[in-house]
C-alpha cells in the first residue's frame, strides 16, 4: 500500500464516520423529546455533514480521479464504506442515541485534538475546526447522560441499556491496520493507543457520575475496516443514494 492509498482510505474512514453519523442524527429531526433538543441534534448533524464534505472532498483530491465529495457519498456500495459500525446502528430511543453520541463524541474529541498536530496540513486544518464542534457534542452528550442516568428509574434503565447496547461496538473505534501504520510513520495519523486510554478514563468518569455501570462484556465487534458492516448500512445507503441511483444522468 502506498502512502497515497493509505491517506485516501484514512480520509474515507473519517469522512464516512461523519456522513453516516449525520444521517442517523438527522433522523431525529421532528422526533426529539422537546423542540429545543430537535434544534440541538440537527445542529450536530449539520456539523457532521460539513465535516463529511471536507473529508470526502479531500479524499477525492488524493485519489486524483476527479471524484467529488458527492461521488464518494452517493456512488459507493456497502463494501466500499469504512465508517465504524457504531455509527450506522439505528437510533433507538433518546437514551440509546445519547449513549452512542457520548461514546463517539468523546472518541472524536481526543482523536481530532491529536490530529490537529498531523503532518498533513489539510487534515490538521479540518481537525482544528472539528475539535470545536465535537467538544460541544461531547458536553451535550455528557450532560444528558447524567440527567438520564441519574434522573428517574425509567430513564436510568434506558440509559444503562443504551450504554450496554453500544459497548461491544466501541473497541473498533481504536483498531488500527496497515493504513494507520504507514501514516503514523510519517506523523500523519494519530496514536490510537493513547486515545483509547484517555477515552476510557473519561467515559469511566462520566458513567460514574451518571450512576451507570461500565458494561462487563469483553467481546468487541469488528469489520468496518474491511468494509464488512452490519445489515443496517445497506438500508441507509438505499435511502440516501436513491435519487442518485434512480436518475444517474441528473444533476441536483
Amino acid at each position: 500500500m502506498t502512502q497515497q492509498q493509505a491517506l485516501y482510505k484514512y480520509c474515507l474512514r473519517l469522512g464516512d464516520d461523519a456522513l453516516i453519523q449525520s444521517y442517523r442524527l438527522s433522523e431525529w429531526c421532528s422526533n426529539a423529546p422537546i423542540l429545543e433538543e430537535d434544534l440541538a441534534l440537527t445542529n450536530f448533524a449539520l456539523d457532521m455533514t460539513g465535516r463529511a464534505q471536507a473529508l470526502l472532498g479531500y479524499a477525492g483530491q488524493i485519489d486524483g480521479q476527479g471524484k467529488t465529495d458527492d461521488d464518494l457519498a452517493y456512488k459507493r456500495g456497502e463494501r466500499q464504506f469504512y465508517n465504524h459500525l457504531i455509527m450506522e446502528l439505528p437510533n433507538g430511543n433518546f437514551a440509546t442515541t445519547i449513549a452512542r453520541l457520548l461514546f463517539t463524541s468523546t472518541f472524536e474529541f481526543y482523536f481530532y485534538s491529536d490530529l490537529m498536530n498531523s503532518a498533513d496540513a489539510t487534515l490538521a486544518a479540518i481537525a482544528a475546526k472539528t475539535v470545536k464542534e465535537v467538544k460541544y457534542h461531547m458536553a451535550h452528550a455528557t450532560d444528558w447522560t447524567c440527567r438520564l442516568g441519574d434522573g428517574t428509574q425509567e430513564s436510568h434503565r434506558h440509559m444503562q441499556s443504551g450504554i450496554d447496547h453500544h459497548w461491544m461496538y466501541t473497541g473498533e473505534l481504536f483498531e488500527t491496520d496497515e493504513v494507520d501504520a504507514i501514516l503514523q510513520d510519517r506523523n500523519i495519523a494519530v496514536d490510537m493507543a493513547s486515545i483509547q486510554q484517555r477515552w476510557h478514563q473519561s467515559i469511566t468518569q462520566v458513567l460514574k457520575e451518571a450512576t451507570l455501570k461500565i458494561p462487563a462484556g469483553e467481546h468487541m465487534q469488528s469489520g468496518s475496516q474491511q468494509g464488512i458492516h452490519t445489515e443496517y448500512l445497506g438500508h441507509i445507503l438505499t435511502e440516501m443514494q436513491y435519487l442518485q441511483r434512480a436518475y444517474p444522468e441528473a444533476i441536483w
Binding site: 444521517y23 438527522s26 423529546p33 452517493y74 437514551a95 430513564s155 434506558h158
Partner: protein, 321 residues
C-alpha cells in the same frame, strides 16, 4: 344596577384607551391592559402559527435522508431547523399572553388549535421540497412580512427575527426548481408536477376571500392583521408568476392573465370545497401529521420527566452540602 353600570363604564374606558393606543401606532406589551377578545385572537393566531412551523417540519423532514447531494442535505436540514426555531420563537411570544407551551400543545392534540392546512398535503418527490420552499414559504413570507408591523410587541419582534431568517428559504426552493428545469426530462416533469400540486393549496394558505373571512373585522381594527387575505394573495401571485416564467414552469391556471386596468393578475376560481374538506380533517395527511406529533410528544415524556427529576435531585444535594 348602579354597580354594573359602573363596571360597564370602566370597561368602556379601558377599551377606549386601548384602541387609542392602537390608533397611535403604539405597540401593545404583555403587561398592558388589553381586551379579552384581543388576547384570545392573538393566542389563537400565534399558536396556530407556531404549530404550523412545527408541523411543517414533517413533510420536509420526509426528504432529509434522501436529499440528493451533501449540499442539498445541509440546506434542507438548516431550513427545517429554522422552522423549528421559528415555532419556538412563536410559542415563546404566545406564552407572554399567559398560556403555556404545554397548554398550546394540548390544544393542538385535542384539535382545538389548528395549524396551516398546507401541511396536510404529502411531499412526494424531491421537487416537492423545491415547491414547498418556493411556493409555500413564498406565500408564508408575504404574510409574515406584513405581520412584522402587527400591534402586539412580542409577536412583531418574533416576526422580524423570522423574516430575517426566512429570506433564504424561498431561494433554496426556487433554486431546486430552477436546477430541475435545467435538468433531464424526468426532472422537468417532476418539477412541473410539483408545481401543479402545490400551486392551488399555496393560494389557499391566505385563507378565504375577504368577503367570507370571519376573523378579519377586529383583527384589522386592532392592527393584528395589517393586510387582508385577498391583498396578500394577490401580492403573492403577482411576484410568483414572473419567477415561474423565468425557469419555464407553467402555472396550472388557464384563467390566469394580466389585468391591465387593475395592474395585477386575475386568477381562476379557487376550489374552496377542497379547502374546507382538508381543514375538516380529510386531507391526505391530517391524521398522519397529528399522530406523529402525539407519538413524539408521548415518547419524549420520560425524557422530560427525567430532566426535571435530575434537577430536583441536584438542588437537594446542593442544599444538604
Amino acid at each position: 344596577m348602579e354597580l354594573m353600570e359602573k363596571a360597564g363604564k370602566i370597561h368602556e374606558e379601558l377599551l377606549k384607551s386601548f384602541e387609542a393606543k392602537i390608533e397611535r401606532g403604539d405597540a401593545i406589551e404583555p403587561r398592558d391592559k388589553m381586551p379579552d377578545a384581543y388576547r384570545k385572537h392573538l393566542i389563537r393566531q400565534m399558536s396556530q402559527h407556531a404549530h404550523s412551523e412545527v408541523i411543517g417540519m414533517q413533510p420536509e423532514g420526509n426528504w432529509i435522508t434522501r436529499a440528493p447531494s451533501l449540499r442539498a442535505k445541509q440546506i434542507l436540514l438548516a431550513k427545517i431547523q429554522d422552522e423549528g426555531g421559528h415555532g419556538l420563537y412563536l410559542y415563546s411570544a404566545a406564552e407572554t399572553l399567559g398560556i403555556s407551551r404545554a397548554e398550546m400543545i394540548e390544544q393542538l392534540h385535542s384539535g382545538k388549535a389548528k395549524y396551516s392546512n398546507i401541511f396536510n398535503y404529502p411531499s412526494l418527490t424531491w421537487a416537492d421540497i423545491g415547491a414547498i420552499g418556493w411556493l409555500v414559504d413564498g406565500a408564508a413570507i408575504v404574510n409574515q412580512v406584513s405581520l412584522q408591523r402587527t400591534s402586539y410587541g412580542p409577536y412583531s419582534r418574533a416576526m422580524v427575527r423570522i423574516c430575517k431568517e426566512e429570506s433564504f428559504h424561498q431561494r433554496q426552493g426556487y433554486e431546486i426548481m430552477a436546477k430541475m428545469m435545467k435538468g433531464t426530462k424526468d426532472q422537468q416533469e417532476m418539477a412541473q408536477d410539483a408545481m401543479n400540486r402545490w400551486w392551488w393549496p399555496s393560494l389557499m394558505m391566505f385563507g378565504p376571500h375577504d368577503s367570507e373571512s370571519p376573523h378579519t373585522g377586529d383583527a384589522v381594527k386592532w392592527k393584528i392583521k395589517r393586510h387582508s387575505n385577498d391583498e396578500l394573495r394577490q401580492k403573492f401571485i403577482d411576484k410568483t408568476v414572473q419567477q415561474a416564467e423565468v425557469i419555464g414552469l407553467t402555472i396550472p391556471d388557464k384563467d390566469l392573465k394580466w389585468n391591465e386596468s387593475r395592474g395585477c393578475y386575475d386568477h381562476g376560481p379557487i376550489n374552496w370545497d377542497e379547502f374546507y374538506r382538508v381543514i375538516g380533517g380529510h386531507g391526505q395527511c391530517n391524521k398522519q401529521r397529528m399522530a406523529h406529533h402525539i407519538k413524539v410528544h408521548n415518547e419524549g415524556a420520560w425524557v422530560r420527566e427525567a430532566a426535571e427529576a435530575y434537577r430536583l435531585k441536584k438542588e437537594k444535594q446542593l442544599l444538604h452540602s
